[in-house]
């Protein structure tokens, strides 16, 4: 069990969302897309130079800006 930021995951790595380190607004926006504590999240790809991170959550794919992705703390098993 190791806590890290979503942006530190490698492509294909799966983790569990631990907490959203951001205001109510950010966590609400993320949760309406299905990203909330307790959910399994898979890092699909990220872009160079702090580009967006694409993740798989359930059966959906979501692109998250780098800054917002940094606020997502995950737990790797």
């Amino acid at each position: 069990m190791e806590e890290t930021k979503l942006t530190n995951l490698k492509a294909g790595q799966t983790a569990v969302v631990k907490e959203i380190r951001g205001g109510e607004g950010v966590s609400h926006r993320l949760s309406s897309l299905g990203i909330r504590p307790g959910k399994e999240i898979t890092h699909v790809s990220s872009h160079f130079w702090r580009g967006p991170v694409t993740v798989r959550i359930g059966r959906a794919k979501v692109a998250i800006g780098y800054g917002m992705a940094q606020k997502i703390v995950v737990e790797v098993k």
Binding site: H28, R29, L30, S31, S32, L33, G34, R36, V44, S45, S46, H47, F48, W49, R50, G51, P52, T54, I57, G58, R59, A60, K61, V62, A63, I64, G65, Y66, G67, M68
Partner: protein, 574 residues
Amino acid sequence: MTESRKKILLIGNPNVGKSAIFSRLTGARVTISNYPGTTVGFSQGFMKLGAESAGTVIDVPGVYNLQPLCRADDVACNMVTDGDIIVNVIDATNLERNLFLTLELREKNIPMVVVLNMWDETRHKGIEIDLEKLEEELGVPVVSTCGITGVGIKELIEKIRMVKGKEFPVTDRDKKWEEIGRISQTAQVLHYHHHTFLERVEDISTNPVWGLPIAALVVVLSFNVIRFIGEGLIGYVCDPFFEKLWLPVMEKLSSFLSPGSLLHDVIVGKLIDGQIDFFASFGLLTTGIYVPFAAVLPYMISFYLVLGFMEDSGYLPRLATQVDNLMHHLGLHGYAIVPMILGLGCNVPGAMALRLLENRREKFIAATLMAVCVPCMAQIAMIVGLVGERGGGYVALIFGILFLLLIVKGTLMNRLMKGNSPEILWEIPPYRMPQFQAVLKKLWMRISGFLTEAVPFVLLGVLIVNFMYMLGIVAYLSRLFAPLLSGLWGLPSETISAMIMGFLRKDVAVGMLAPLDLTTKQLVIACTILAIYFPCIATFIVMVRELGIRDMLRSAVIMIFTAVSVGAILNILL
């Protein structure tokens, strides 16, 4: 009859197929694509509910929850309270996430039917949903449909007719997620599934290494296909028609009306070296017909055909993530590419799609960039037609200047304006094979929109041009603006007539440069200025609505300042 008409609201997450269901229920034609945010305004239509009663169906822009986030959502949130029946459309392959909105809507105590759309996709994705159990858990009727093929629509109509209201207790967010967890566990089974061909394509096109070259390839390929089809239609269909069939008719008409008479000038136009010139004569039945049908229409068809495939495949949101980095330097995030691409077809839908962007700063930057640097297809086609005669390099030069301006202006606005560009947060839909029939249907919708809404204005524009010359307005304005036009931009002062026409129709405005005997340098400068100085009136109105009058005026100052300085710089450099 009208007072008993029930309001039926189609509500759901973005990109779940509300518009497809809407079009099935009402028979109305609306734009359907595979990217979140296709519908930014409301579409209304009617459906029969019983022998005598009818309902008004409203296609509401997609929302993830009822708490307003941006304006498009805001409107949707306000709509909910005055609906009589809610049809909550759900993406069946994404049950859990979609249910949050369902539970929020249920609390409104308005009769509601839940529609599990994209039902056909659940099977090969290894998703099994027990409809009866789901219905039991939710306490509202549930139907499965496939909006694109129309499966399940009959049952949906039946359920809408029968639905009754129920009371549900109000719960908080955490309670809702708890309930959703329970519901999806009892009603849904997920099986392991193999990667399909499209999913493999997907992995490559979002890959950080391959994604960008693929994006470049898609853009170059689209560009070439648009050119190929556009030029083909002009060279093999439109031009032969006008030269072989239409020209003889016009020549007969010309000698009948006797050249030089008022009627001749308005209908056939001025003879250039004793001949009718479809670009330069400027008569209603010559230039007025030729510009929309032979110069612009072919490129409209080819552009919207390619765009249709891009929209329906689901590539646009992927392109958005690829360019997100670059767009941040311009004060925007990647999804701002969507209004820009729509703006290439016509700035009006492009400006409407500005609603997809979150905040005022971003909307301002995107609107200003679109108005200045994104010419619409009608204008592009005319530039290609007119400037292309002098050499393709000059066409490339104009677009090169516009692209450079996009980068410079975006960077400047981003540096000078307070605030940061917001982060992208968008769902990326799965790739779907575009249905040829659906693409053609959408193409026809857009083309008929162009024919009915734009062509009358082209004719009106040509008519106004004739009167402006006859009444001496052009001569008067030419004298007035001569210092700016000749002194600063090196253009003959008659080009003021084109600048004025640009407010109404940009294609007619570019066309007005044809009879002026401009040098190539003047033509390049005039076309560039026409593209950047101000949007056409239709775009202007939409932008005022989206930005507010104060921001729009500010934006207009930037546009005019840019046009004046770019014109002067080009005049010195070229």
